[in-house]
Symmetry: C2
Amino acid sequence: MKKSIIFFSILFCLNGFGQTKAKNIHIEPINFSKVKITDSFWQPRLKNHAASTLNTCIAQIESNTGRLTNFVNAGKRSGKHSGIFYDDSDVYKALEGISYTLINNPDPKLEQTADDWINKIASAQLSDGYINTYYTLTGLDKRWTNMDKHEMYCAGHLIEAGVAYYQATGKRKLLDVGEKMVKHMMSIFGEGKRHWVPGHEEIELALVKLYSVTKNKKYLDFANWLLEERGHGYGTTGGNGEWDVKYYQDEKPVADLTDVSGHSVRCMYLFSGMTDVEKLEGNSKYTKALNSVWDDVVLRNMYITGGIGSSKQNEGFTEDYDLPNLDAYSETCASVGMVYWNSRMNQSTGDSKYVDVLERSMYNAVLAGVSISGDKFFYVNPLASKGDHNRKAWYGTACCPSQISRFIPSIGNYIYGTSDNALWVNLYIGSSADIAIGNKKMVLNQETNYPWNGDVKLTVQSLSAPLKKEIRLRIPAWCKKYSIALNGKTVTNLVLEKGYAVLEKEWKSGDQITLSMDMPVEIEKADDRVKEDLGKRAIQRGPIVYCLEEEDNKANFGFENLTKDTKFETFYNPDLLGGIMQIKTDASPKDVLNFIPYYSWDNRADSKMKVWIDYKDK
Amino acid sequence: MKKSIIFFSILFCLNGFGQTKAKNIHIEPINFSKVKITDSFWQPRLKNHAASTLNTCIAQIESNTGRLTNFVNAGKRSGKHSGIFYDDSDVYKALEGISYTLINNPDPKLEQTADDWINKIASAQLSDGYINTYYTLTGLDKRWTNMDKHEMYCAGHLIEAGVAYYQATGKRKLLDVGEKMVKHMMSIFGEGKRHWVPGHEEIELALVKLYSVTKNKKYLDFANWLLEERGHGYGTTGGNGEWDVKYYQDEKPVADLTDVSGHSVRCMYLFSGMTDVEKLEGNSKYTKALNSVWDDVVLRNMYITGGIGSSKQNEGFTEDYDLPNLDAYSETCASVGMVYWNSRMNQSTGDSKYVDVLERSMYNAVLAGVSISGDKFFYVNPLASKGDHNRKAWYGTACCPSQISRFIPSIGNYIYGTSDNALWVNLYIGSSADIAIGNKKMVLNQETNYPWNGDVKLTVQSLSAPLKKEIRLRIPAWCKKYSIALNGKTVTNLVLEKGYAVLEKEWKSGDQITLSMDMPVEIEKADDRVKEDLGKRAIQRGPIVYCLEEEDNKANFGFENLTKDTKFETFYNPDLLGGIMQIKTDASPKDVLNFIPYYSWDNRADSKMKVWIDYKDK
């Protein structure tokens, strides 16, 4: 097995790092509703999501907690509010997950559940459009007095759910509730009205979604107004009555941001909203800021797993290179936020470096957030464990389970995109996609055993008419050696642009592209400024970061040495942890180290775990 | 608890490093027969040694193996030789241990056992003086043909046993056997006779002992001749017919040695013999060589435990700074050899740096060689273990158990010494000593809880007449802060010479010296060239090196981080491991690390262990 050492600065390779965004690129994602995932890695996860994750969330929302009852009570304007002031958002996020699931897996019973919830939600909306069960049940006199009480955050998730359910079923009821809430907010806040800095961003990107569906530009403008509210001293009362401008990203106008600070999920949602607004307004007013904070996140504040926000203290960022392993926070929601933001950055630049980060987060930090069984969740994703950190069925603050519930069924969104000139292939996931490009219709099949294997076969199964466009294949940053063949003939003189191999011809039905990527085990090094990882290395193969669990390393745990001479063997084990490529070191039996994918840890008995391992340069 | 970081180069502090030996110092040790150990650390070990260790060795030699039967068979000149060609030495070393035990604990039954053995040994001596059961029983035609077959090594241990038993009982029989064997050797080897380079040194220092008892200068001359045989190409057939000059310290004349090489026990015995011969000849012909190899051993090739010889391959030295932990060899015999050699170096220089090393080896690498129960032994002393390295009751090559059997009862040798001008106090061990100095007789009492506490009280209990001499108290290299009081008055303007505090007055009966040494927990760093310990630290308190066993650190093993802010708590636990000072880190309960003395590891269930621990400078 080939093995190489790559010195990387958290993210080990950055295509085009330092470039400014190319403004004339505008990639539209192929919505997951058009992509049928058929592979053996994600497809079982999607099935499990419908069968297990969603049901877990539904049971928690309907029965085990008072989340749905809060809406019923609010509808009756009586009874107590239970839980925390932002709990409404979990119901909305689960509804978003249900919507996505219904798109690819119609299920009348599930739709009935959603309709029932939506009725209860709608009943909780006041006549002025306001909807928030916490204030309705604890005192409406206090609404819109504390910027950190998540009223706009919950509204944002309401909107995202409304849009998703409308797209899944054509039913507008929830969307209307959301739109009515937006109108309520716009009646109070905006140019010449009250100032407001949402303590937890989310509303901005949701308003952009609402704009995309309704084409009502006022919503985009309101999103823009909310972004521009920041950094002018308008932020006032936050949690506990205090307002920490760093924690809330309210230190300076967002266009002037250079560094990340504060709560990591809020950052991701803010940056997503900024990327959205700039793109739809067709300007580049946030480009410099976005490039700068992206560097700050990815080069100085990201774990090898693609997780971010190292501190439990603020659920967010601390000093550069402060990336503890045992005490890593790396909230699941923030990693999903990394996918959201990086996808948007890619769509407005055509640079694959954003998909490299997206992929790193998705296959590692995000996927670790849910158990193989689909019914247990991590809120916090450390890179080392003493065996006392375990997934739970639910959390008091349940943002992460509900985040997983809406993210997993949407992963089809991130595979393909189209722009004026090109079809973009970003992720390698076995699937069949109905793609509208130019005025042509293409069915594109992708066959691959990714992430376990780097061979990919793309077949233009049907095409309504010959198509003269580029097909751009992302060459992942982890990939050091690859070849591409077109209808069986190796392509020489390949053009590589911002990490994409550019293939240009008049495409016809039956055309076949094969991409063969070497996928050796790599020994990764963190930036020397990450003190926690000094003298240590991590193992990665393809996009998958590996770890050691004591379970598989009873004799050697605590003595896990790698050297530059360490050789690795890989073998697919279909019976372990849902089917994984295992890696073991090629040592004498008593010294073998057995690695499993990081995402698959803590799925057996409680076990110690570590990603970064002692390394000796001898 | 005060805590400091000391950067040390294996040995963390070297008093007078680089000095040449002062030739006019000649310290005579106070023999252990004059020192009654009364403390709570060593006294139980001496009792246990008599009750357990010796009986284990006796049972192995008499019954479980053929070691004693070899002598019986050799006496009959018939029967087979069992075991290995050097097994006679184990019988001699056990006899030496029995002799030392009889001195302080007369035991007619034990003496009867020794007499019985000695009769069997004597019966095995040929009429020409040759004694070696291996050749007698496998073919005398081959004797003196292979320099690595340990004939002189066994003869050396015979002499040491003979001297010891003579001193213990006044019985000369075994001494005579040894002397006769020496005469046999001197009839074959020497100036104008055959050349011979003993493959395993030992005979040289034994001949010096024989000279000291018999005053026959021929034995000293023969020792000198044997030392001078080396490095001239006389070494020929060794083990497997080959002769590796590095392995056998035969690369150059011993006076020209600059670096250590080869088998570590052989080195220690060679250097001990060189130090002895030079001292008794009253010259300094080996001084430069001894200083140079001492630096090489201590500064570049010694573990923090005082163990040496890192490689299993040659049971010896490899490259400088090659000090693996898990795979450390660090043979028990070699650590005892460090005590032997460093004691001699101290006696001819009056430099305490040698006692610092002696003490380090004695309390750590040597003491780990025997179980708390006294009946199990380590041959190999790693500084880390996966739990699969355990003491055994005996070994095929049993040099280490028999080495322990003779070393432990002799530790009283290393506490005091006298020279023309001074009484030297080297080790702090509660005891009562009958000291002859000048023409006076002194009874000196030492009270201390060393090594757990740095307070020492020395009382001149009786003195035949007032005595005008220096009393020199060793200030250990580990000690950074101390004070001395004389009859209750703190001594100011202390003179410190080569690591000794020099007290001068006319001593009288009843005089009392108190030495108070601060004994904080220290975080020790290895030389940066020791790759194995990069980014790691070890814990030491006083002379005791500590380790972590998984047994006491179930939750945290594998995640043992120290930082410069780590605080320590110490507490004496009389019920654990024979009574030890435990050290724990002052962290939240789930992060506490529990340290035990290195010497006490592997005395409970099989457990992983490590001395060097990850350290973060934050």
